[in-house]
């Protein structure tokens, strides 16, 4: 509950601070202070009880250790995001405080998605999560691409919301309740499962697949990620995506388990296979790093979906590791990207010579995304695939596909390393639009060290799962 309430309040505080504070830097400092407070609050909740005790909400929101841990991960990732990219947020437009406020509202939506107990809350959470994103995507009002992306996102988002509502209605029609535990109990005795129920489940699956941008429901992703201001792409591709995946898991695990027939895994395996193939293969040909990352974020979602495929402890552990290491690495790369003049691969040429610290950290991020051992990304992928293998070993083809796709991803990720270390800078234009501060490379290296730490000792994270 801490996450939901404090982030909503922080959002309000940010909106007011926009009225009274004129200096953008100060606004960033306020936002950073709030997010640090929020992270501490979520951490406190992980250890002890929530600060807010609302028994009436039990039927609507029910927190679990897992949800709380993911909440901590999201807020920590957001903290790094604010610290690394604060200056870039300020450069997007005039209403800096509003951007921060919107992002806090997104976190509030994520908080609901981590703890919903009722399909209505799921719907509310998804809407609170996405509506601010429509605005953030269109934050550059003068930029046509940004406007187009915002409109497209809104249209397709509305469409997927429609599908989700339809699914919820069908389930309600069959079961007579929105409450997940009631639905689950009733479903145990209802054999064979009601057709409307199954259909509702399928529509929910499709709409959640849309939210996590799983193929073939991913089409909004490249256009929106490419059109949105780069800093906000970073936010959407990481924190929002992890929250959506966890909501996906929460929706279909536990109470919905009776619905899982052997066909469930067929459906999910098709989604995973499509997502991995589309994400990886399309990423290969991109010239713009931003667009490449958009596609790669699709393929990363494919790996995270293994948790939805498996529904076992492995999958949960895997999402924890995957979520944090993927978010940190992507936030790190985007924080560099959003400062750069040229966001194609050529823009990275010769970076290592001028900024060895930044180049080193980027290398770690890229290695983690590609899943090279000693990074968190490797363990994440390892856990995800072994979760799948542990739950149903007859899907060997899927696991092999996942590994081959990881190999393909090395190709496009390593082009960044290649450009940084092995290519000479031809033009005289500076790498960055604005001069980077001295602290920036150090912060990046801290993030990189964190990724390596997770890769060596995942238990520092996982131990919290089993208090």
């Amino acid at each position: 509950m801490n996450l939901i309430i404090i982030s909503a309040l922080s959002g309000v505080v940010m909106m007011f601070s926009g009225l009274f504070v004129k200096n953008n830097r100060t606004i960033s400092y306020i936002a950073t202070a709030l997010i640090i407070f929020l992270s501490l609050a979520t951490m406190c909740e992980l250890g002890a009880k929530s600060w807010f005790n609302i028994p009436q909400a039990e039927a609507m929101l029910r927190t679990s250790v897992y949800g709380k841990l993911i909440g901590v991960i999201l807020t920590i990732a957001t903290t790094f995001y604010f610290v690394l990219s604060g200056k870039d947020i300020e450069r997007v437009g005039k209403h800096v405080a509003d951007y921060y406020a919107l992002m806090f509202f997104v976190l509030a939506g994520a908080g609901i998605l981590l703890s919903f107990q009722n399909l209505l809350m799921l719907f509310l959470g998804v809407e609170i999560l996405t509506i601010p994103l429509f605005i953030l995507t269109g934050a550059q009002k003068q930029n046509l691409k940004s406007n187009e992306a915002s409109l497209k996102y809104f249209l397709m988002g509305a469409f997927s919301t429609g599908i989700m509502l339809m699914g919820i209605v069908l389930i309600y029609g069959a079961m007579g309740s929105f409450d997940l535990s009631v639905i689950g109990k009733k479903a145990q005795f209802a054999t064979p499962i009601h057709g409307a129920n199954l259909m509702g489940l399928l529509l929910l699956l499709a709409s959640m697949a849309f939210k996590v941008s799983a193929a073939p429901f991913h089409f909004w992703t490249p256009d929106v990620y490419d059109g949105a201001p780069t800093v906000f792409t970073s936010f959407m591709a990481t924190i929002v995506k992890v929250a959506a995946v966890v909501a996906f898991i929460r929706l279909f695990e536990g109470s919905m388990e009776p619905f899982h027939t052997s066909k469930w895994q067929i459906l999910v395996s098709i989604l995973i296979a499509c997502t991995l193939l589309v994400g990886n293969i399309t990423a290969v040909f991109q010239q713009s790093v931003k667009r490449m990352l958009a596609y790669s974020s699709i393929s990363q979602a494919g790996y995270m979906l293994f948790a939805v495929f498996a529904f076992n402890a492995f999958g949960k552990e895997g999402i924890t590791i995957y979520g944090l290491s993927y978010s940190l690495a992507t936030i790190g790369i985007f924080s560099v990207l959003s400062k750069m003049q040229d966001i194609t691969f050529d823009g990275f040429n010769g970076l290592a010579r001028q900024y060895p610290g930044i180049a080193f950290a980027l290398t770690v991020f890229v290695l983690s995304l590609a899943g090279i051992p000693l990074t968190g990304g490797f363990l994440g992928k390892f856990y995800m695939i072994s979760a799948g293998a542990a739950s149903n070993s007859s899907y060997t083809w899927l696991f092999i596909l996942a590994i081959l796709c990881a190999a393909v991803s090395v190709y496009y990720y390593f082009r960044i390393i290649q450009a940084m270390y092995f290519k000479e800078r031809v033009s005289d234009t500076p790498v960055f639009e604005v001069p980077v501060s001295k602290a920036f490379p150090i912060l990046l290296i801290v993030v990189a060290a964190l990724i390596i730490l997770i890769g060596i000792n995942p238990q520092i994270l996982l131990q919290y799962l089993y208090f």
């Binding site: 399928l202 066909k263 293969i281 290969v284 040909f285 000792n457 995942p458 238990q459």
Partner: protein, 641 residues
């Protein structure tokens, strides 16, 4: 977490921090600061190791669960923890690594002083990283941690051999070392996989207790053989030894630390650690003994005719390592570890002494241009003499006791081992004193305009300390013969808990009675003294002008039995030919086409998939609808599987 486990992790952490500071700050730190950080890290490690040694002597051990720091690799019921095991064997190695390492760091501060700032720091960073890896290797509580350290020391060895990377020969030597070690590492890795498959764990104590109850089996023989292949690579045994002489391309202190005192003894450590497994595989034990013995004699024979001072020492190291393997193979685990220790002292001393000479002679390594250095370098002269006496096996210097222990054990196992081993020992005495005489005695044959001078203080400091150790270290392992007390061998008592399981499993060889032992000792010492006198007499009058091209057998020796050439003709050339065939025919016609085909297909798909991304929202929604319809079709109308 026991007291010891809180202490143990400090040992490797100091060099790691030193590595990070020196490596990252190499452009900013002054040389003095780099030297202080590099050596200071080792000094702290050494102090911690002494504390650990005290605790271990008092009976406190770190074994099993207590040593687990965190779960390193964990899936299902299989778990490889990141754990340390501190017992008597480890504590001895810790002292040797950090102690000798510290002296060599101090020595390096002055030996490497001509390097530029950044390269000087790079050197110390590598050296610290090496010590860190080596400590991991000996401290790990399971084979995986050992393997991490094993690879780490291999990497550092590669980096330091190729330290002067602008010289092509040196980088080639580094590559050779790396590739040769890779062959051995593959054996080690296969052994680990076998262990995991069979025992379901890699932790030493679990494996050993399981193996003991199961008894010997062909699987254990395979595992021990694979481990031994790893040891052959790392510890430069026949047939994988050729990288070590080439490794002399690195700076001399590196040769002393890595290629004499520590890394090359990793193989001995591994086998000593796995003594239970080896005791269950007698045929592997015999192989270890025979390989060790052959290497000892073979390498010693090559050393007889080398003119490069570092090459002499390199072959001597290979030969001494052979003795250690001989010791392991005949079940004298303590003797082997004892020899590791004394060898670390006297060989590090000899290398550092050689470094001192090379430093004074302006990087001239050819002994034919030395001579008479006794006058110019008194400290180096005395310390080197002590080193030579120690390695030759003259009582009461340390080498005498450790080598003798191995040879007596070899005699007990099989007198032929003893005879061949003694022959090798005689050659050792000969080539060492050939080296000593050509360097320090006779007249100066170098350039008279640049007379050599004694090395600076940090270098002589290291030499003196090592010389003292080389002289007296033998007394911790006095044979029963001298003390008439089965408890007299302090080292054996100390290490007994580690080796008791392995030794209990071994068929006990009857220890030769005291009379025989006295005779053997007297014979060996007498012969060695005679050989030394002969060598000194022959080479004291050495003149550069009289030096003829070696003929006949000595030509074979001077050319190192043509092993490099044989490898070149028998292995490398055919492999290159096969590689050529694969490269030209199979690769281009088959694999390339397939791989490029896949690549092209992906590229093609990538371009085509892009068109799906038309930017038209209507199209997107249409595709989504179609997808939902397909999913519905699968969910409702596909037969249940």
């Amino acid at each position: 977490m026991s007291n010891l486990s809180q202490l143990a992790w400090l040992v490797p952490i100091f060099p790691l921090i030193g590595f990070l500071i020196n490596g990252l700050g190499r452009n900013y730190l002054s040389k003095t600061l780099v030297g202080i950080i590099g050596s200071g890290a080792l000094l702290l490690s050494f102090i911690t190791s002494v504390l650990i040694f005290n605790k271990v002597s008092a009976g406190e051990l770190l074994i099993g669960e207590a040593g687990v720091y965190f779960d390193f690799i964990k899936f299902g019921s299989f778990n490889i923890p990141f754990a340390f095991q501190i017992d008597q064997l480890t504590s001895i190695f810790l002292l040797v690594i950090t102690g000798v390492g510290f002296l060599i760091h101090v020595y390096s501060t002055s030996y490497m002083h001509e390097e530029t700032k950044a390269h000087f720091a790079r050197y110390f960073a590598y050296l610290n990283l090496f010590v860190f890896s080596m400590l991991l290797l000996v401290m790990g509580a399971n084979y995986v941690i050992m393997f991490i350290g094993w690879e780490g020391v291999g990497l550092c060895s590669y980096l330091l051999i190729g330290y002067w990377f602008k010289n092509n020969d040196y980088t080639n030597a580094a590559k050779k070392a790396f590739v040769m070690n890779r062959i051995g590492d593959l054996g080690f890795l296969i052994a680990i996989f076998y262990l995991i498959q069979h025992f379901g764990t890699t932790t030493y104590i679990d494996i050993f207790s399981q193996a003991k109850t199961e008894g010997s089996s062909s699987l254990i023989t395979i595992i021990t053989l694979c481990l031994f292949v790893g040891a052959m690579g790392k510890s430069a045994q026949l047939p994988l030894y050729t990288w070590l002489p080439d490794a002399m391309a690195g700076p001399t202190p590196v040769s002393a630390l890595i290629h004499a005192a520590t890394m090359v003894t990793a193989g001995i450590y591994m086998i000593a650690r796995s003594n239970v497994l080896y005791a269950l595989a007698p045929s592997t034990m015999s192989l270890v003994a025979i390989v060790g013995l052959l290497t000892a004699v073979f390498a010693a024979s090559i050393a007889l005719k080398q003119n490069d001072i570092k090459k002499v020492l390199a072959y001597s190291t290979v030969s001494q390592l052979g003795y250690m393997f001989l010791g392991l193979g005949v079940g004298a685990f303590t003797g082997a570890v004892f020899h590791v220790m004394t060898h670390a002292f006297f060989k590090a001393l000899l290398f550092l002494g050689a470094g001192s000479v090379i430093h004074a002679m302006h990087h001239q390594q050819d002994m034919r241009h030395y001579g008479g250095l006794k006058k110019y370098m008194p400290v180096t002269n005395i310390t080197m003499l002590i080193g030579c006496l120690a390695i030759a096996g003259i009582p009461p210097f340390s080498g005498f006791f450790s080598k003798d222990e191995i040879l007596i054990a070899a005699y007990a196992a099989n007198p032929i081992y003893y005879v061949i081993g003694l022959f090798g020992a005689l050659m050792t005495a000969f080539y060492m004193f050939r080296m000593y005489t050509m360097t320090f005695l006779g007249g100066f044959r170098g350039d008279h305009h640049h007379l050599p001078h004694e090395s600076p203080k940090p270098m002589t400091f290291a030499l003196v300390v090592l010389a003292i150790l080389a002289a007296v270290a033998g007394f911790i392992g006095l044979p029963e013969l001298f003390t008439h007390n089965p408890e007299g061998h302090k080292l054996a008592n100390y290490l007994a808990p580690v080796f008791k399981d392995g030794e209990a499993l071994l068929a006990k060889h009857a220890h030769p009675d005291h009379t025989t032992e006295w005779i053997l000792l007297a014979v060996s010492v007498g012969l060695i003294v005679a050989v030394i006198l002969w060598a000194v007499k022959t080479y004291k009058v050495y003149k550069l002008e009289n030096d003829a091209e070696p003929q006949g057998f000595s030509k074979i020796l001077a050319n190192k039995w043509y092993v490099d050439e044989i490898y070149d003709a028998v292995i490398i050339k055919p492999i290159l030919a096969i590689g050529d065939f694969f490269g030209k025919v199979i690769e281009t016609k088959g694999i390339d086409k397939a791989v490029n085909g896949v690549g092209k297909a992906i590229n093609f798909g990538s371009r085509k998939f892009r068109y799906l991304q038309s930017g038209n929202v209507g199209n997107y929604i249409l595709i989504m609808i179609v997808a939902i319809i397909i999913l519905v079709r699968i969910l409702f109308y596909l037969p249940m599987s």
